[in-house]
């Protein structure tokens, strides 16, 4: 098992290097260091000297990935790519263009991100599995039909509509919770209630419909017929036999996102003004702040790889047939 995890982590290295290269290439195909300086300095203060000074202060005066003028190893290390991207492997994220330390920023913003993403994840999973089980229990009836119709309706509407509609109704008309913002201590709950409920609702349709399909597929299998032939009740069959087998495919889609919860949600955080990593990323993209963008992409892909690994490990917990002797 340990050997397996080690091997998987070794496989992750080339993937992360590739992700870095692609992020770097994509960013500098559309931007140049000069563009970044102009953006930061603002139109009034742009002079060639100011741009040169801005680039020199932040290390953007070097060549992109290959330094002809440098000596020896410096040809590769004395470049923007090495200084800004490769050094992240050593845990050095550097500073944002506004001079703040990115690592510290990430630590601070992780809390708010988790505070919204974790409840959304847990409540969402619980709600969609329960809803799917309910539809499956009443399969073939009117309830099933209208349940699926509701799912399709829920997933057909853009999540922006839920956010704006929710803010309008709950906050503006009914004054139940603040429209946006973030607080301290227990006060947080007032700010989080609306985004959590809306996110759960927005995700319910598609996942419940998908889980229902998985449950129905399981229910047609031979071992379920065996369980019924034992004289078990429909509920005992559903919870005792079908649920655990159906969890195997459900886990594939679910466990992989657990580490990504740390990254927060781009849209929800921006709309509700929550100072998490999601809104941080959006702001950085708008400000063309390469240092922050590449740091967030790097962390995101690392967490994704960890998520895939966790998925495989979780298989061994639910499915006795899967072992690491592969």
């Amino acid at each position: 098992m340990l050997a397996y995890i080690l091997r998987r982590l070794l496989h992750a290295l080339p993937i992360l290097i590739g992700v870095n290269l692609i992020t770097f290439a994509l960013f500098f195909v559309v931007n140049t260091p000069d563009d970044m300086a102009r953006m930061q300095l603002g139109i009034k203060r742009v002079t060639p000297e100011a741009i040169a000074r801005w680039k020199a202060e932040r290390g953007y005066d070097r060549p992109l990935i290959w330094n002809e003028k440098a000596e020896g190893l410096g040809k590769a290390t004395n470049t923007i790519f090495f200084a800004k991207s490769v050094r992240m492997f050593a845990g050095d994220f550097g500073r944002a263009d506004d001079g703040r330390d990115i690592a510290r920023e990430i630590r601070m913003r992780m809390g708010p991100s988790l505070a919204i993403a974790l409840p959304v994840f847990l409540l969402g999973l619980y709600a969609s599995v329960s809803f799917a089980l309910l539809l499956v229990f009443f399969r073939g009836t009117v309830l099933d039909f209208w349940g699926v119709a509701a799912c399709v309706a829920l997933m057909s509407i853009s999540s922006l509509f839920y956010i704006i509609g929710g803010q309008f109704l709950v906050s503006k008309l009914w004054h139940l919770v603040p429209i946006s913002g973030y607080g301290e201590g227990l006060d947080v709950a007032r700010f989080l209630a609306l985004p959590v409920i809306i996110s759960v609702l927005a995700g319910l349709g598609s996942s419940a419909r998908w889980y229902r399909t998985i449950f129905l597929e399981e229910i047609g299998k031979d071992y379920v017929r065996t369980a019924r032939a034992k004289g078990l009740s429909e509920l005992a069959v559903l919870f005792g036999h079908v649920l655990r087998n159906a969890m195997i495919p459900i886990l594939t889609g679910v466990v992989v996102v657990i580490p990504l919860l740390f990254m927060g949600s781009l849209i929800t955080e921006s709309f509700f003004g929550i100072p998490g990593l999601g809104s941080y990323t959006i702001d950085a993209i708008n400000a063309q702040d390469f240092a922050v963008v590449k740091a967030m992409v790097f962390i995101g892909s690392m967490l994704y790889i960890v998520g895939l690994l966790l998925t495989d490990i979780s298989y061994t917990l639910v499915d006795p047939r899967v072992r690491f002797e592969r």
Binding site: T226, A227, A229, H241, N245, P320
Partner: protein, 683 residues
């Protein structure tokens, strides 16, 4: 005596207006085994599921009555019915591999059934489950309780299923094809177990099967089902001595047997379930059909509870003396079939095709010491830690116009060997000579050219044809790949000719595989193989997915084609009856090695190797008094860790210490009969 189970006029309806069961009546007494037999699509399984009220969703019982110990099961509420399921009436299913919950230890699955039907829970329940496992012959039962199903072999899983069914101490056991998915030696074990349990507990058993051999060994009464109805019913002895219904008789005479000429077949297929019938349902496939058969539904003839039949041929004939009855309506040659030895003619074996025509007898394929080893890798660096010796040094020859059968149980390496001979898998060692040319190390181009000479037909006619290609394209693909015919018209002519050769209409070129039945698909697969004019055909279990009557059609075709084109066959099969019928030579494989080989008549009539003998004796036959049954202990060991010495010694009744030390050398017995055994059975 009132019967344990009484079914009268049972009708089942499925969505889409299908009627898989249409007026079935039968009765099973306590301690009696009632075998319901018929081809697939006859409604046997649906009858069983209807008794349990476990029909697929949307389906239901449309009429009739089901009485279990006098209790009307149709009148029960669902909650009461649950008490009956697994309680008074339990069921085991065909596929032990999928019928157990894969993520639940087998002990818990049994305890669940115990707890449901008033058995003990907790530690006492565990002990009871272990006792049940021991009762079905699972060694070390206590430890096995915590195993997951995937750890158990197919036979073990079916034993667990039986243990689970016994948990509620049922009075009636419904067994739906309980041994169809198992190897013959394991089938023999499971059938013996079922018979013993039934005897000990005085259970009634409804056995559903397509295998007449199983029926002949297990049943006390037999019911033959056709198109949703029981068409003949009778005690085992009277039924096999003198089957009355034309369908039953054709079914039995379609069974392959040694030395027989053309097998009898049943034209056509079982009619679709949705249609309405006027008259006898079998009439359109019946050679004895009379005008009235088309218009008038036959009634039962014969005494209730005795041997009776639903056929107009018996209108005016009293059923007291069955032999004369059979003689009366049959064509003359039919009468002699019903002799003292049952329906089997005592033909002398047909002479081997002796006058050698051109090309016949030439060695087509010579295999020397063929090995296929698969590496087993482990650890961080994927180091090879061992190997599975799937094929471990086998030597064979196939001659033009002759058939070599490679027989053995699943996992013995016979399919791997067949694929390695065609280089569909790269052999690890040994030599394969095709028409004198060594295949190992041939370049891609030369190998492709040789491929025209050797083709393969696969087991599963449903999976081995590309579902998105038209039949004509499937057949023509090989022709154009090897550039055999120039021009489209020539190719089309060739395809049409091939379809005619395999007994299909040339107009079918434009259809897709899903529009054909299993037997027709296998014909297409044969046409595809023949398209490139091969000299050698490797047939990998070509009939094991087919019904008996269809199997007979395919076997006839395979034989005809051999005679016409002087094809050499390597016929891979586990079905010894088919091998006995079709092959000239046979090689018996066990765990990657050939243990006995030689002419079919020598090897199969006077087997010298204990494994061959056990394999033969495990095949259930319909012939009365067949061979004495030898039941082998245990399962075939894993090829990962084969036993030292002779691989067969742990299961061999004749094993002595020497067998565990050395693998026996191959000894020649003359006339090509060779044997690898330290202590052979004296011929």
């Amino acid at each position: 005596m009132t019967a344990l189970l009484e079914v009268s006029d049972l009708k089942v309806e499925l969505p889409g207006g299908l009627r898989p069961v249409d007026g079935v009546s039968l009765a099973v007494g306590a301690g009696e085994t009632y075998a319901l037999v018929g081809e697939s699509g006859c409604g046997k399984s649906m009858t069983a599921l209807a008794l349990m009220r476990l029909l697929p969703e949307g389906g239901g019982i449309a009429g009739g009555q089901v009485l279990l110990s006098g209790q009307d099961l149709r009148a029960l509420t669902e909650a009461d019915m649950r008490r009956v399921r697994g309680g008074a009436m339990a069921m085991i299913f065909q596929e032990p591999a999928t019928s157990l919950n894969p993520v639940m230890p087998v002990g818990r699955q049994i305890m669940e059934a115990l707890a449901r039907h008033g058995g003990p829970g907790g530690a006492a329940g565990r002990a009871r489950a272990a006792a049940l496992l021991a009762a079905v012959g699972i060694p070390d039962a206590e430890a096995r309780l915590d195993e997951f199903p995937f750890r158990l072999s197919g036979g073990m899983k079916q034993r667990v299923m039986i243990a689970m069914a016994l948990a509620g101490e049922p009075g009636l056991l419904v067994a739906d094809e309980p041994t169809t998915a198992l190897d013959v030696t394991i089938q023999a074990q499971v059938l013996e177990l079922l018979a013993r349990i039934q005897r000990e507990r005085g259970m009634g058993m409804l056995l559903i099967t397509h295998d007449l051999g199983v029926v002949a060994n297990m049943a006390s009464r037999v019911g033959v089902m056709y198109a949703g109805q029981v068409v003949e019913e009778g005690g085992r002895e009277t039924f096999f001595q003198a089957p009355l219904h034309p369908y039953s008789r054709r079914l039995i005479s379609a069974l392959p047997r040694p030395g027989a000429g053309r097998l009898e077949t049943i034209p056509g297929t079982v009619p679709p379930l949705g249609r309405a019938f006027s008259g006898c349902r079998f009439s359109e496939r019946c050679l004895e059909a009379m005008p009235r058969c088309q218009t008038e539904e036959p009634a039962w003839h014969g005494p209730e509870g005795g041997h009776r039949v639903r056929c107009h041929l018996y209108m005016s004939v009293p059923l007291a003396c069955p032999t004369s009855v059979v003689d009366a309506p049959s064509p003359p040659d039919r009468g002699e079939r019903v002799g003292v030895r049952g329906i089997f003619p005592s033909h002398p074996p047909s002479p081997l095709p002796s006058p050698r025509t051109r090309g016949e007898g030439d060695t087509l394929l010579a295999v020397r010491d063929l090995q296929v080893h698969f590496p087993v890798r482990k650890g961080l660096l994927r180091r090879q830690v061992g190997q599975v010796k799937a094929v471990d040094g086998i030597s064979l020859t196939v001659q033009a116009g002759r058939t070599l059968a490679l027989v053995g149980e699943s996992g013995c390496g016979k399919t791997t060997a067949g694929k390695a001979m065609l280089r569909l898998i790269e052999p690890t060692g040994g030599q394969v000579l095709f028409a004198g040319e060594d295949l190992a190390g041939l370049s891609g181009g030369r190998m492709r050219a040789l491929r025209a000479g050797m083709q393969m037909i696969f087991q599963d006619p449903y999976g081995s044809l590309d579902p998105r290609m038209r039949v004509g394209d499937i057949i023509a693909e090989g022709i154009s790949a090897l550039g055999l015919e120039a021009g489209r018209e020539a190719r089309e002519r060739r395809v049409a000719g091939l379809l005619a050769d395999v007994g299909l209409s040339p107009e079918m070129v434009g259809r897709y595989p899903h529009e054909f039945s299993g037997g027709q698909r296998q014909r297409i697969a044969i046409a595809r193989a023949l398209a490139v004019q091969p000299r050698l055909l490797v047939c990998d279990e070509p009939t094991s997915a087919l019904d008996v009557s269809v199997q007979a059609q395919i076997l006839n075709l395979v034989r005809e084609l051999q005679d016409r084109f002087k094809l050499g066959y390597l016929f891979i099969s586990h079905n010894l009856a088919v091998v006995e019928y079709l092959a000239h030579e046979v090689a018996v494989m066990y765990l990657g090695r050939v243990v006995e080989t030689g002419p079919v008549r020598d090897v199969l009539s006077r087997p010298r190797h204990p494994y061959t003998k056990a394999l033969l004796s495990a095949v259930p036959t319909v012939e009365p008094g067949g061979r004495p049954r030898i039941i082998l202990k245990g399962d075939m060991p894993s090829p990962m860790a084969p036993p030292p010495g002779c691989h067969f010694h742990p299961r061999c009744p004749r094993a002595r210490p020497l067998c565990a030390e050395r693998f026996p050398e191959e000894t020649a017995l003359g006339q090509g009969h060779k044997l690898a055994c330290h202590f052979p059975i004296s011929g």
